[in-house]
Subunit: 357 residues, 2 copies
């Protein structure tokens, strides 16, 4: 699952059309929401109260209104159009709607598609299809885990569908898996309708906290070897998890040698926004790198990851390899694709790292 | 540009809905048309006359009727739905229609999009957008060219938009560039409305033949160092270019040490069809390999290439590198992405090559 800047979409719609400039600059993931908000605020005149340097906390009480997923089903097709990927849209054919409603935090739609299995949509944005979710879950989990020599304690922030847990559970070295997911509704409906992902919760090493991940980290410093941020948390308040203070909080919650892996935007859509984020995090972490995976049902067909380490070297070369048995359980990740996923096209290398190679 | 099995779509529509089985098996490129036809014929009872072993020739006289591009513009968006990528669709927002009509071979629509520059659509299928075409053109051209120590003579079959010519022209070692494009209309309208691609025709080393590429090769054996097949040829008759006899013809037209690079389907959509094609070609060529590039406006966001060599080794590692000046003209290709593009996700490795790595 990835989580989008739903609040921003709505506020944009509510407050009027955004300018072409801001439209081009928009990014699709929460971890740059502060950038969008700042851009949007400067363009809109600052209707919104936000303080990127404030302590990261999430609340269900702040008002927001996500897109209604049912409104996006027209003539039997779900149409994912958003200001974050202007001028393009992905559509999936709907076989039947399984569930639609609101959790405490967001609009949730689950439908059976004709060719992509069950699909979960939050506030109008495709989060998971059973057909291709494995590429995202495997890569966001195994890149940091196989980059760490002995990942015993792993924290997942967001990821309520359970898919990342499922992948982490394939690692026998891992002794403890903690997940902080703020929206109990996502967990509940994933267990009902996305069992191939939610089976990740079945592993006895998993502890579930329905709470603010930042708060959890404040109380658990110097504890984890790997932190994976795969937020399913909604809208406005959760965005603070993806600002510099949150990266500070992750850094404090890591043990030495620890690694974080977070969503890194799509290089085809938001490459101009990835660079300032990478630059900002580089002041905190020893290494900050960018990898990507192909995934047809995310906008433009790929999504990236930011991989950063605490007093450790590059994560481009895995330090361990899957056993043959582990490899048989994986449909995307291999040691070779781990290395290849850090190799970016020329345009992305220039825009993110300012270099030709 | 890539070219789809438009004739098959139409005949399918004409002869009635295809079964779910054939629908799942359908592939999107012409080079496996024979597989589809054979599948479709066996399912439909064989209305169609086809002889995959016949000599490869193309004709404008065979009847076909492509999708009308204008019919696919609804509410200001162009919707690319096709039986070759069932259950999913890409849409692009239209700013204005620039041209619509028929060439001798196909329906041609050129529109200005809101965010992707000018877009060329043939028989209802997106061939080129100015925003992302560079990834396809650079990779289909530079992978074979940088895999060859001294590519002096290069043949392009199809590729009428000129984008591949533009990339080949960046190689000073190349002395002769021959293009065989069957549809003069594609050349004409690309020169008018896609000048950033069609500037490839300006290079003095380029010779243009408006003719059947297979026939040209029959008359030019043992001549070329690199052959790139990027067909813009239409429907039924052109499909023979992508059957085993055509791969034989390319092999005969190559000099020793020569390399062909053709479209290789999308691994996310048609992986079950790539393997028999690779197997078939492996009987002819010394090496047959598969690479891919990301490209948001092709179905599922990626497209592959089949790279095969005549009495030469693997093309996975380039034997030459772009100079700094060459590299500055490229937005996707680098020596590193050349190597990385051959590294496939686990599922694709298994399906195409039957192995874990």
């Amino acid at each position: 699952m990835r989580c989008f800047l739903r609040w921003f979409i709505i506020s944009t719609i509510k407050f009027g059309a955004i300018s072409p400039i801001s439209s081009l600059l928009l990014s699709s993931q929460q971890n740059t929401r502060s950038l969008f908000l700042n851009t949007a605020l400067s363009l809109r005149g600052g209707e919104e109260k936000t303080n990127p340097s404030s302590t990261a906390t999430m609340s269900e009480n702040e008002s927001h209104q996500g897109l209604n997923g049912m409104d996006l089903i027209i003539d039997g097709w779900f149409h994912e159009r958003g200001e974050l990927w202007p001028g393009q849209a992905m559509s999936l054919e709907v076989k039947r709607v399984i569930h639609h409603g609101r959790t405490k935090f967001q609009d949730i739609l689950i439908f059976e598609s004709t060719k992509h299995g069950n699909v979960m949509v939050l506030d109008g944005v495709i989060q998971v299809t059973e057909r291709d979710e494995f590429s995202y879950q495997e890569m966001i989990a195994h890149i940091p885990l196989f980059s760490h020599p002995n990942p015993e304690k792993v924290l997942v922030i967001g990821g309520g569908d359970g898919g990342v847990l499922r992948e982490i559970a394939k690692h026998p070295k891992v002794k403890e898996i903690v997940i902080c997911e703020i929206d109990a509704g996502v967990v509940e409906y994933s267990k009902k309708y996305l069992p191939s992902l939610a089976k990740g919760y079945d592993d006895p090493r998993v502890t579930v906290h329905i709470m603010d991940g930042a708060k959890f980290m404040d109380d658990n410093q110097n504890r984890f070897d790997v932190i994976i941020t795969d937020s399913s948390d909604p809208i406005g308040p959760a965005s603070v998890l993806f600002e510099t203070p949150f990266y500070n909080a992750m850094h404090l919650s890591l043990r030495d040698g620890g690694i974080v892996c977070t969503q890194g935007e799509c290089m085809w859509l938001h490459v101009d926004l990835i660079r300032p984020l990478v630059d900002s995090i580089s002041r905190i972490y020893s290494t900050v790198e960018y990898a990507y995976t192909t995934i047809p049902t995310y906008p433009s067909g790929q999504i990236g990851f930011i991989i950063a380490s605490k007093r450790q070297g590059s994560c481009k070369d895995p330090v361990r390899q899957p056993t043959l048995e582990q490899q048989k359980t994986m449909n995307y990740y291999t040691s070779d694709i781990h290395k290849a996923s850090f190799v970016l096209p020329a345009f992305a290398n220039r825009a993110i790292f300012g270099k030709e190679k």
